[in-house]
Amino acid sequence: MTTTVTDEVVDYDEAIKRYDPVMGLEVHVELGTASKMFCGCATGFGAEPNSQVCPVCLGLPGALPVVNEKAVESAIRIGLALNCSIAPWSRFARKNYFYPDMPKNFQTSQYDEPIAAGGYLDVQVPAESGPGTETFRVEIERAHMEEDTGKSLHVGGATGRIHGADHSLVDYNRAGIPLIEIVTKPITGAGKRAPEVARAYVAALRDLLRALDVSDVKMEQGSLRCDANVSLRPRVGDPTSAEQAEVPLGTRTETKNVNSLRSVERAVRYEISRHAAVLDAGHKITQETRHWHEDTGVTTAGREKSDAEDYRYFPEPDLVPVAPSAETVEALRATLPEPPAERRARLQSDWGYSDLEMRDVVNAGALELIEETVTAGATPAAARKWWLGELARRANAQGKGVEDFGVTPAHVAELDGLVKAGRLNDNLARQVLDGVIAGEGTPTQVADARGLELVQDDGALEAAVDKVIDANPDVAQKIRDGKVQAAGALIGQVMKEMKGQADAGKARELILAKLT
């Protein structure tokens, strides 16, 4: 029985004084290949249910898998980028268990012969003390290829879970999508910063995969999924000390359904607090799967994982071994992009951003967008202002990503150009941006069509100034008497008169010239 009672938790800082957290992170990445892992079916997200299926990915009797070469290439590139060694000979294996969303009732995966093993990823975490960041090395155990399962939709229950549902529907479009599972070695020595390390690791991995152009890495759509294993052991010294490393690992729990960077951090933090409470009370941790609930910020018990669970792995007899030649591996190594950490350092220095500014850009996932915007001609400051200011604000308000508006780096650069040229002020530029988002065209087209432009005609501005002065004789008198700051009230009215399409600075000059 699953319990609905809220678990006891210990204050995080208290927990970390007495316990040393150890994590293991398993990340599943859906590759962005055009076709599935073992058949030619399309992989696009959001298609009509069961429209992207064939005898192979439906597991129909007699159908056979054929390995997607592109997926193997992606796996090798990911392995190389994670500093892993690439196996000259690796095999697929069948992981046998029954579940309705798994067409064959086994998952074709890799077991003891993964394509990549023994690497690391350096991630940036906030410094222990003081501003800035420092590097934390996460060791990679392995990266292996497998196929995704279908997706179950449980209808009629209160929770969307299978328990209590009236019936279930299965969409097999996702069945057979290529996955790479990346597994870390136990992450020790992070101490208090364990939740931040977890988040930074997933963020760094996401950036790396994006730079490799192997996946769209959208956590909210499930193309990047993280399972966080957490265990605690008694704290005997500094987290990085030799005596702490000697302490045996505690029992772990595996938290699934962690679908955002923020959730990774929160879920790890929560589990540390919860484990501490269980251990403080003298109880044992149950080895089990836990579900993360984004809304309430807690985990609940899922299925218990005992050692009796037996997937009866054996080598997949329908596939031949994957044996990339050394030449192939080296050719793929040559296609690796600049490592994200190095690239970030280079761009930060090029753009003159502060550490804080750079971190905001990275966290917003806007690095590429800003880079392309700068390349298209915008200043780094303007590019950051538009993407992290205006667009991020709108994205947050609408629960979207900044890239979901149809606004391109070229658009932003063009907009910046119009401001720099004096054709638009910030207020007008925002209106132009609205037009671009509404699909009315490029910034110039929108400005033309909507007639948005700072009025350059001094005659019209002068007429407006005269009109406002006439209408406000007492304010005008104050200015004449030397209270120059009263001009602000008149400027506002002039701008209103000009429907915003005037240069406020010029209006001020004119008013002062006439009255002083």
Binding site: G62, F98, P100, N105, R312, F314, D318, L319
Partner: protein
């Protein structure tokens, strides 16, 4: 004319069709008539597609009339084992669990048959999921041996061999995981070939044991087998284990039928204890004929073959337990709701369906395989069996350094009575003791009739084995031996079979 057409070989039918002396429609109709007349007794077919076969025949006749360049076997009908997926035609694998399943796609082999213009008469009976050596494990009742209706036709492909032996089809497709083409061939007096593993696409062959399964020809003559082999063989990008090379020159070899100077190895380990005297006697005579025709015969030892059966019955169930997991009532086939459960879960429906849908032999092997793959037992069972498999492959490699082909009796006995071995799985498994090594090593094998056993007057078979990808050697030896035996018998062995009672005649 119609009464004789069904006795003709595929090669001679092909000649008659090419010369316009008979139409494909007539040939197909004659076989449909024959099926109607004798299959009530033989029960070789699970499904007869008269309409589809006649339509395909009419199409070939039309194309021939239009002067199109047709495949040599175009218009010659064929029966297909019910383990191959056929679009629009039921495919049950002899199991209740697939009752009524109509595949939405054709196996690659079936596509090749259709493209070559061979009308498909229907689907033939088999042991459930090809597990068995007698066709008694079919959920739809056994097939009867045309030589003696009280006896088994071999298995698992007893339906295909019986159909060919009873003149219900000139050609048939079988599949051979441990002898399911060759052993039925031996006990029905017909020819059966298991090509090199990977020589014929497995795409659409409902897997029993993926690393052992291989489809191949079931015919009455060696040349017919070669002609059919060349239709179904060749690389298939849909099957990763398919060999990327042209089909070996099997037809040429069958026509040359030459063994002069050929080195033939008699396998010491296959043919001693447990082999029926009449089987052994016909085998020895056949070997003597080969020697007389200029072959050099030596004895060859393959010591690991003694462990082949044990290794096979770990590897096969292991793979089968996983391959058969997909039959769970969720997407197709039988669905049984558990009794006395008001709101059953998916797991309960799966369990109830598998309980009702699978027969005892299938369950026995699923349990065996599940156990052999279990954590803690894997190394001792599956792992060890794979090592034995390598030793057997090594024995073959060593033997083929000394000789060009190997020979043995195909099956230790002639056809036994229906029901005789049903309660004794081990004695049933021993039927395949001589055929299994070839599957474990992936090498090609052929069984052809060697005569009739003195003690029971029933057909016996001789098996020829060749190195992987050298399938043509089987045909060279087989055709040469067949010609000498035919001369000795004064005609085909099947001519000695009793005439079946004909319904409605």
């Amino acid at each position: 004319m119609n009464t004789d057409i069904t006795r003709a070989s595929a090669a001679s039918l092909a000649d008659l069709l090419a010369r316009g002396e008979v139409s494909s429609t007539e040939v197909v109709q004659a076989h449909l008539d024959r099926i109607g007349a004798v299959d009530g007794d033989v029960h070789a077919f699970l499904h007869v597609d008269g309409e589809g076969a006649l339509a395909a025949a009419a199409d070939v006749d039309r194309r021939r009339a239009a002067g199109e360049d047709l495949h040599v076997l175009a218009g010659v009908p064929i029966a297909v084992k019910d383990v191959m997926a056929t679009k629009g035609m039921p495919t049950t694998c002899g199991s209740r669990i697939l009752q009524g399943w109509v595949p939405p796609y054709d196996a690659t082999l079936v596509t090749k048959l259709r493209e070559a213009g061979l009308p498909i008469l229907g689907k033939t009976n088999m042991d459930e999921f090809a597990m068995g050596s007698s066709t008694e494990h079919s959920a739809y009742g056994p097939t009867h041996n045309p030589w003696d209706l009280d006896r088994i036709p071999g298995g698992s492909g007893g339906g295909s061999s019986a159909a060919v032996a009873a003149y219900e089809a000139p050609l048939a497709i079988g599949t051979d995981t441990g002898g399911s083409i060759r052993q039925p061939g031996a006990v029905t007096g017909t020819v059966g070939v298991k090509p090199t593993y990977g020589g014929v696409s497995r795409y659409g062959l409902v897997a029993l044991a993926s690393s052992l399964d291989q489809a191949g020809p079931v015919t009455r003559t060696v040349l017919d087998a070669a002609l059919l082999h060349s239709v179904i063989g060749g690389h298939d990008p849909m099957d990763s284990t398919s060999i990327d090379a042209p089909v070996p020159p099997v037809v040429e070899a069958a026509r040359r039928a030459d063994v002069k100077g050929l080195k033939v190895g008699v396998i010491k380990e296959l043919g001693g204890e447990g082999y029926q005297a009449g089987v052994r006697a016909r085998f020895d005579e056949a070997v003597a004929l080969l020697e007389g025709a200029g072959a050099e015969v030596v004895e060859v030892s393959a010591p690991s073959f003694d462990y082949a059966l044990a290794a096979y019955y770990l590897i096969l169930p292991s793979e089968a337990s996983s391959n058969l997991a997909k039959f769970d009532a969720m997407r197709y086939g039988l669905r049984v709701l558990p009794e006395g459960v008001s709101d059953p879960s998916a797991e309960q429906v799966m369990a109830a369906t598998r309980d009702a849908g699978f027969g005892d032999e299938v369950k026995r092997r699923i349990i065996l395989g599940t156990y052999a793959l279990s954590s803690g037992y894997y190394d001792a069972y599956y792992g060890q069996a794979q090592k034995v498999r390598r030793l057997i492959a090594n024995d073959f490699a060593k033997a083929f350094e000394q000789v060009d082909v190997l020979v043995s009796p195909t099956s230790p006995t002639t056809a036994f009575k229906l029901g005789d071995k049903l309660q004794d799985p081990m004695s049933m498994y021993l039927q395949d003791v001589a055929t299994i090594p070839a599957n474990l090593a992936g090498v090609p094998g052929m069984s052809l009739p060697s005569g009739l056993a003195d003690e029971d007057g029933l057909p016996t078979g001789i098996q020829v084995l060749a190195p992987a990808t050298k399938d043509e050697r089987l045909y060279g030896v087989g055709a040469a031996l067949e010609a000498m035996l035919l001369e000795k018998w004064g005609g085909p062995l099947l001519a000695k079979a009793p005439e079946l009672g004909v319904k409605g005649a």
